[in-house]
């Protein structure tokens, strides 16, 4: 990529636990072009949320150990001070969380919760301009009677409206990158599509890049250009969304696709057998090996690297997979 907006190299995040360090994110490398939408998919515990937090510099409070390198807009942001992080957060990189009910402060009016983003990042902005922009943002995310809603408290809004407010907070300063961590999971099914559409419209309109974290491949398929499949802290498959969904390579990705309930299909849903392993007990083996039907001896000894497996044309996102079996198979 010529000028990537975000480059993540060998990122690892470890948390201290009673029984030693737990590596929630393990050797993850990614690249994101400006305006591109990347989906990160995986089960709970796969490290996808931790990845999102690390990109926001929000792992510090829990004494996490962060290794590797994150370059954003040409700047190494790995070891930034809190003060420097503060200037980036909310302004250049913004985040939308899963549950809008707990994301908004219950005792502050929603107008104030949007306005404070302007107030603290653009201290010179006049009060009237702050109000005008807040109102504009609220209207843009589709809240009717925005003028009146400015004075509402979060509990006076529906779940979908709350998430719209959260999105308004996040996109108020037109960040270059939006990290959305399961933005629709906590919402009613009927509202989910509306919120996703809104987010897609907004990021296209503003040229915002997005990392959409989800357990739901359908959500990512509808929204993202590329997808990274995470398992036990690692990216096991990466590629253009169409490629990955049409021709999944990693046994885990195949399992994920097979386990989604599909409307109008009579095929039985096939859940992946077993559960996510204890991240502390993996050792050097492939983390998926205990659940993998195709595993060979090698899988139990060393973890497979994430490699491109076919020559893809250079304009496209390369399709990479971390699986010994895939790489050993002869290809035509």
């Amino acid at each position: 990529m010529a000028n990537p907006l975000l480059t993540v190299s060998n990122l690892s995040v470890e948390y201290p636990t009673r029984h030693g360090w737990l590596r929630a994110v393990n050797d993850v490398s990614l690249e994101l072009a400006p305006g591109m939408a990347l989906g990160v998919v995986g089960e709970s515990g796969s490290g996808k949320s931790t990845l999102g937090q690390a990109l926001m510099g929000l792992t510090g409070a829990s004494q996490a150990r962060v290794g590797g390198r994150i370059t954003f807009d040409g700047q190494d942001i790995t070891g930034l001070t809190n003060k420097a992080w503060r200037r980036i957060r909310g302004d250049r990189i913004a985040m939308v969380f899963q549950d809008p009910t707990s994301t908004l402060n219950p005792v502050l009016r929603i107008g104030d919760q949007i306005a404070e983003v302007f107030q603290w990042h653009r201290p010179d902005m006049p009060q009237t301009e702050v109000r005008r922009r807040t109102l504009g943002m609220l209207e843009r995310v589709g809240i009717r009677e925005a003028e009146r809603r400015l004075r509402s408290y979060p509990h006076e809004l529906s779940g979908g409206m709350r998430q719209r407010v959260v999105i308004a907070c996040a996109l108020a300063l037109e960040p270059a990158l939006l990290i959305a961590d399961e933005p629709t999971t906590a919402l009613d099914v009927t509202v989910q599509a509306q919120i996703l559409d809104l987010m897609r419209d907004l990021i296209i309109e503003r040229g915002t890049a997005m990392i959409l974290i989800s357990h739901d491949l359908d959500v990512i398929g509808d929204t993202c250009d590329a997808v990274a499949v995470m398992y036990a802290g690692r990216v096991v498959e990466f590629g253009a969304t169409d490629d990955v969904l049409a021709a999944p390579q990693h046994p885990y990705t195949k399992g994920l696709l097979a386990s989604r309930p599909r409307f109008g299909h009579n095929q039985a849903v096939a859940p992946i057998a077993g559960t996510v392993p204890d991240l502390r007990s993996i050792g050097t083996a492939c983390a998926f090996q205990p659940r993998c039907a195709q595993a060979v001896d090698l899988c139990g000894r060393e973890g497979p690297p994430l490699q491109g497996f076919v020559a893809t044309d250079s304009a496209k996102v390369p399709h990479r997979v971390a699986c010994h079996v895939v790489h050993q198979e002869p290809r035509s």
Binding site: R89, M95, T103, N105, L108, E116, V117, W120, Y153, A170
Partner: protein, 329 residues
Amino acid sequence: MLRLVLTRLAYAVLVMIGVTFVVASLIKLIPGDPVDIMAAGNPGMTVEDMDKLRHELGLTRPILEQFFIYAKNAVLGDLGISIRQRVPAAGLIWERLPATAELAFWAILIALAVAIPIGIVTALKRDTAIDYAGTVVAVLGVSVPGFLLGILLILVFSVNLRWLPASGFRGSALASIPSAIASGDPSIFWNAFRYFILPSISLAFVLVAINARLVRSSMIEVLQQDYITFARAKGLPIRIIYLRHALRNALLPVLTVVGLQLGSLLSGTIVIETVFAWPGIGRLAVQAVHWRDYPLIQAVVLISALLFVFLNLVVDLLYRWIDPRAHHG
């Protein structure tokens, strides 16, 4: 909201009626003849006095009738005549109420002004030496009886250092503020306020300890909430996150507790006023019991309990007003 206020109000009135009933029938619960007991405690009483008293106290009337008479008189401001002082009990209470109210005011002020910063700091510096020091203060706070603290403070600051008066009351400190400002002479305020210092600290100490712990745990819990992470993700300055986003939420549970603490404060004044010879209703209550002055006892109990119910009502409504989520509740 209006409906809620009315429900609460109705409930408070119901409790007040109950309180009045208990107070009115209190005299009937005394084993033996209360007038004889009172006569024993008040040697000046004549036989005529005693007969008159028997009638006034309604000892011969059925309990319900006595309740209605007592309640009617109370509403009209007549709480009976103090046997010891031979003046209306209501007057005695009105004289002493301001001193107690202001003492409680300073105590609450100290309790919050000291406890909130301690609570915040110990929450932010969790598991450090500062936090442990806070724990020690908290255990001391709930362990030291108010009257003992008062006496120890007198011992140190009055007897040994001679900095502050050991007892007494020289008028309201709050009321002296305007004249102190007008005359530009702070000593006008100080001369009244210095009498408040030791008693209000004695009264507030236990509340400081409890509230500091409460703010701490509440703050720790709030800091783990998603909206705090979101505030950080918005790139807000850390002090704004703590003060605007966290503290507001953390103080809500404290407010409810302050309502309950008014009760313990009232209990506290009973003891502290005795220690500091404070002319308030707490000391009056103790004296009334010592004197076996039943009309006065009834009056003090009635007013204290009514006051307490009323203050709780106010705090309850205040809480609902401050917490937007409770508007609908």
